[in-house]
């Protein structure tokens, strides 16, 4: 989604208050943005804590800072800066985390982001965006850009199945209707789930993509709520179970008295074999590939 991100921010670069800060990343992708922004494109160096603190300072003066780095270098390395400097002050800093889930593949676990939105969802007022398809990025940038408070964008690689057309962006979207289980997937893994069930008939799952978290800031739409009663709910996410949407939805159903026929999750399992590989390899190991999802989620 880097190319789409760059295009969206170049389109936004006419705003004189936009400042882009990168933690020395973006080679081969962000040069057009650098050229468009001039002195408002800041390579802050390999110093993410400082970059996030500087961004908070910029935002407090009315500027519109966007920070960019590999996801864990943002939410994990600079968590206290996000909490203290940005969220305690409700400052509108947009944090771009590239490589959600296993997206960095064989680069290894230091570069993976398996707990990012769970951790960040604990912070006050932080809105989280997880675009599912490449075509979502422009709308997500626009939505994050008008946020009055902090925002985190988890970027990955869109997985639109062949022959499918991505619906227009929305925080919650129905990708396919069905009388089977209600399946909810967060971000790009929704494309994998879609490919798993795309050829199913009316008895297949009712599949939804979620792109905005936490649940407290983005309540499910009425159609989703009405679909739940008496059915099995399955949640798919390239994120550990702890702090994920599955846990949040389970609590939400219990509190709301939603009578489910069952509940299952498919989440990131970490590194069960102790070996490393591509994003597809790690998804298979976690049972997040299309074949595994069919097996695990369908009756």
């Amino acid at each position: 989604m880097r190319r789409e991100l760059c295009e969206a921010l170049v389109a936004r670069s006419a705003r004189s208050d936009l400042v882009f800060l990168t933690g020395d990343l973006g080679f081969g992708a962000l040069e057009p943005l650098r050229d468009a922004l001039g002195d408002r494109f800041i390579n802050a160096g390999i110093a993410e804590q400082n970059m996030i603190g500087v961004a908070a300072g910029l935002a407090s003066e009315g500027l519109e800072p966007w920070t960019y780095t590999i996801a864990p270098f943002c939410y994990a390395r600079a968590f206290e800066q996000i909490r203290n400097d940005i969220c305690f002050h409700r400052l509108p800093v947009r944090l771009l985390g590239n490589g959600g889930g296993y997206a960095y593949g064989v680069m290894g676990p230091t570069h993976h982001a398996l707990e990012d939105y769970g951790v960040l969802a604990t912070l006050p007022g932080l809105r989280i965006f997880v675009p599912a398809f490449d075509s979502d990025v422009a709308a997500v940038v626009e939505a994050a850009g008008i946020e009055p408070g902090p925002a985190y964008l988890r970027l990955g690689r869109g997985e639109l199945p062949a022959g499918c057309a991505a619906p227009a962006y929305a925080p919650w979207r129905r990708l396919r209707p069905g009388r089977g289980p209600v399946v909810v997937a967060v971000g790009p893994i929704a494309g994998i789930a879609w490919s798993a069930f795309a050829r199913d008939g009316e008895d297949g799952p009712d599949l939804w993509a979620v792109s905005e978290l936490p649940l407290a800031l983005n309540q499910p739409p009425r159609d989703f709520i009405e679909a739940l009663s008496g059915r099995r709910l399955c949640v798919v996410e390239e994120h550990v179970a702890q702090g994920g949407l599955g846990q949040a939805l389970a609590a939400w159903c219990l509190e709301g008295g939603v009578a489910l026929a069952g509940f299952r999750t498919a989440t990131a399992a970490g590194y069960p074999s102790g070996t490393y590989g591509s994003q597809a390899f790690h998804r298979r190991e976690s049972g997040l590939d299309a074949a595994s999802l069919r097996e695990r989620l369908m009756p």
Binding site: G45, A47, G53, V54, R90
Partner: protein
Amino acid sequence: MARRGHTLRAESRPHGANPAPQEAPAPLAPGLLTLARWRLLAMHREAHVGHVGGNLSAFDAMMLVHHEMLGAADRFVLSKGHAAGALYVTLWSRGLISEAELASFHADATRLPGHPPAGGLPGIRFGTGSLGHGLPLAGGLALAARLQRREGRVFCLTSDGEWQEGSTFEALIFCAHRRLSNLTILIDHNRLQGFGTTAEVASLDPIGRVLAGFDVEIREADGHDLPDMRRALVPGTDRPVVVVLHTVKGRGVPAIEGRLDSHYLPLTEDQVRAAMLGIPPTGNAPGTGYA
């Protein structure tokens, strides 16, 4: 916004706004400085809280900057948030925090906790307390002024132990590389941190010489000598200015001056009285601790 018994003055400004500039900044009167120091001692005594040593070492510089140098276009960031009391009293001395509000220091339901809170208080732009956060924030303010083509200086007051935080050095590299000449970094060099001297724990001494390896202008001053600090705090030219303030922890309270325990232990009634009356201490003389 006002709560029972605790009100900000009617002229309270939005979150973080700086005091309005004085028509012509008047020199900080020594009498006001003494009065404010007594108020700081009384406030800590009444609240029965510690951290007073690092408040007193930084207090003279904080008062000088706020009374003589901060206008509406200028910014102040207290990176050593444990000197919150000194900041509250400084703002009180400028009429930005009321006496009643000051009396709530450290009490339940106060807006003046042990470290500056985020939002809501005039003259306090950022909540701080975890060390190593102030200089990146100040760097952002200085960069913002440059990008917005604005005048104005940014002052950031750090402790000396705080330079053990990596993020402070990240920020120094950033600010020096970008030659943020509108930034002045003050280091309260009282040589004492939480559990020992800075020389014992993780020495950067002499810190001025260490930081001189960066592209910043290093100045040194007696942090309790107003004329010396005025000389050292004149604006820089083409790079950030770092002013190493040689200070004494617990300055103004002879019984605790230069002592490690002044970092944590609350003041006694006798210590406050002796400080106000200028009575020399008995028993442990100043300088017998970690001076």
